[in-house]
Amino acid sequence: MALALVANLSFAYPGGHEALRGVSLELEPGEVVALLGPSGGGKSTLLRALAGLVPHFHGGRFAGRVEVGGLDTRRVRPADLAGTVATLFQDPEDQVVFTRVAAEVQFGLENLGTPPARIVARAEEALASVGALHLAERPVAELSGGELQRVCLASTLALRPRLLLLDEPTSQLDPDGAAAAIELARESGAAVVVSEQRPERVLEAADRVLFLAGGMLLDDAPDAWLPREAVTPDAEPRGEPTCRLEAVSFAYGSVPVVKARSLAVGRGEVVALVGPNGSGKTTIAKLAAGLLEPQAGRVVRAGRACYLSQDPGRYLVRERADEEVALAVGGDLARARAALAQVGLLGFDDRHPRDLSSGERERLALAAVLVAEPDLLVLDEPTRGVDPPRKDELAALLRSQAPGRATLVVTNDLVFACEVADRCISTAAREAVVA
């Protein structure tokens, strides 16, 4: 008997266009399904429909039927579905309620009315299953992105769901962290639906693939979505160094993060900086762009440097897209609109940045940095939430503009690193140049 059933589901957000059009599917118990598709294709909306959050939490026009574990989501509120369906959202930072890990994992169990005597044991069991029991007494603010994601997974697994919905669970994680997260979800034994922008991270684990574009399920995925192997580029450094770090060291307070690191990015070069979470990639990028001053060593820079921050969608300050991009060029709207067109946002001039999808916002932030035509361009994780076809366009854009400047790209996405970069530098091993 199917665990979950979606029959001819159509949905539009309040005041918005159709996010889902006539979607039908069935999920078997214990099945792992990969949900792929372009940004704005409707993946998150489908996952929210399975959890009852669409339409109860978001409102909007709902047609069709969704049943999970025999419960019809039109009549059952999301909180009542919580025992059957559990959802892990994209940003762990936006899901945690309490300041201590143990209280956080217990929260779900308390809501479900678990007998008090069993709560602590169930919470510890869930933490142990994701290998985070040692974090139980730690304050949440001190955890890394990867550790926080594991705690959130534990708080969902603690509810022992029969259907586990993961909405881009690995966007903040490095490849090893991503593989571990997907594997933990598989081992839970629940049926799992994983929405993912990086197909190579989920395809081996998946029993089945669904492709959602324009709110409709397609039969097969276009070839841009097929996994590609990462061939590590190792061209020789070339070009007049636009930016050079000489034995640079940096520490946040008493915590040393960058130790005697040397690095050079030549004019005309695209250099990828890769490495595990928390290994100092963002810190090195900020040092190169001049946002941080090194405590030891020297940073030599020729010309203007621009830095695209790691979570661009959150740092947009104007109420119109063209004004936002024009900030870096003193309000010159003509250049701003040209930059918007360059990143595929033609006609978005008067849109409010907060109304754009996550993929569109990342491209707006990219335009806001490219418009200044810097001599040194530093991009911190520019492909988070960006689907493969758009990533190919971004790689082509950066390559075409490479001769005029030095480009440093920080990324956890090895496939993208290999397509866009001439060479890779890793923060993992001390001396190893190759990723």
């Binding site: 929210r48 959890a51 959050l53 939490f57 999301p78 909180a79 009542d80 919580a82 025992g83 369906v85 559990a86 959802t87 959202f89 930072e93 936006d94 899901q95 945690v96 309620v97 309490f98 300041t99 201590r100 209280a103 217990q106 929260f107 779900g108 169990l109 308390e110 809501n111 479900l112 009315g113 678990t114 007998p115 008090p116 005597a117 709560i119 602590v120 919470a123 949440v140 603010a141 708080s155 509810l159 900020k286 762009a289 946002l291 621009c306 830095y307 695209l308 921050s309 979570d311 959150r314 740092y315 947009l316 300050v317 900030l327 870096a328 907060r354 806001a368 940095v369 200044a372 530093v378």
Partner: protein, 232 residues
């Protein structure tokens, strides 16, 4: 000692200091609270101790010049508009010292709470008012995150060569900071509902019971109030 009884003990001592009538009793309570505060690490407690003694000293220094009490004039100075003739009598000094010590004692009690108690455990220990407890816990949890957002806003602009200076410049970042926090709020509310928040029949994880030490602390706190009111 678990947080709630410790908080009650501190409150009891503070109340006793405010009820006592003699300088020596208030000084004794202040000394006890100071010893408690000294258990905190040096760098964290300096700010609190300076605040507590500074405000107490201000009371002691200002009181004589702003009141006309007693006859034993120790010093009389010039006549100043608004404040009249500035004079210092023994009674005014005594009252200044007494009120100054009371303020210091209360400030030290709050300092001990801030330095030694885990604010978060204390909030969660409250069995009643679940929504208020959750609101306080959530707000406390979000402050570091939103502080990083605020720093990130400035950094993202500097990364584009846009300098943010002055109160006007910084005020333009308030809107985006709030917009970002409201988006977090929607995501958080959605995640809470997906984890069963709002479902009737919620239970609470068992709170560790009060040990003998905890019970003793509470009785000591209550006793302090009674003694403060009657004898001190």
């Amino acid at each position: 000692m678990s947080p709630a009884p410790a908080a009650l003990l501190l409150a009891g001592l503070a109340a006793a200091a405010l009820l006592a009538d003699r300088i020596v009793s208030v000084a004794a309570i202040a000394a006890v609270l100071l010893v408690v505060c000294l258990r905190a690490p040096a760098d964290r407690r300096r700010l609190y101790l300076v605040g507590a003694f500074g405000s107490g000293l201000a009371v002691f220094v200002l009181t004589p010049f702003v009141s006309q009490i007693g006859y034993h004039v120790l010093w009389s100075g010039p006549t100043v508009p608004v404040f009249g003739t500035l004079d210092v009598t023994r009674e005014e000094l005594r009252i200044g010292l007494f009120q100054g010590l009371r303020l210091t004692a209360v400030a030290l009690a709050f300092a001990a709470y801030a330095l030694l108690l885990d604010h978060d455990r204390l909030v969660q220990a409250a069995g009643f008012a679940r929504r208020s407890v959750l609101a306080v816990a959530l707000a406390t949890r979000l402050v570091p995150t939103l502080e990083r957002d605020a720093a990130g806003l400035g950094e993202a602009l500097r990364g584009r060569g846009v300098e943010v200076t002055g109160v006007r410049g910084r005020a333009t970042l308030l809107g985006p900071l709030l917009a970002g926090s409201l988006e977090r709020a929607l995501n958080l509310a959605e995640a809470m509902e997906a984890r069963g928040y709002g479902r009737p029949g919620a239970t609470r994880a068992p709170r560790p019971g009060w040990t003998a030490l905890d019970k003793a602390a509470v009785t000591l706190g209550v006793a302090a109030i009674a003694i403060g009111a009657l004898w001190l």
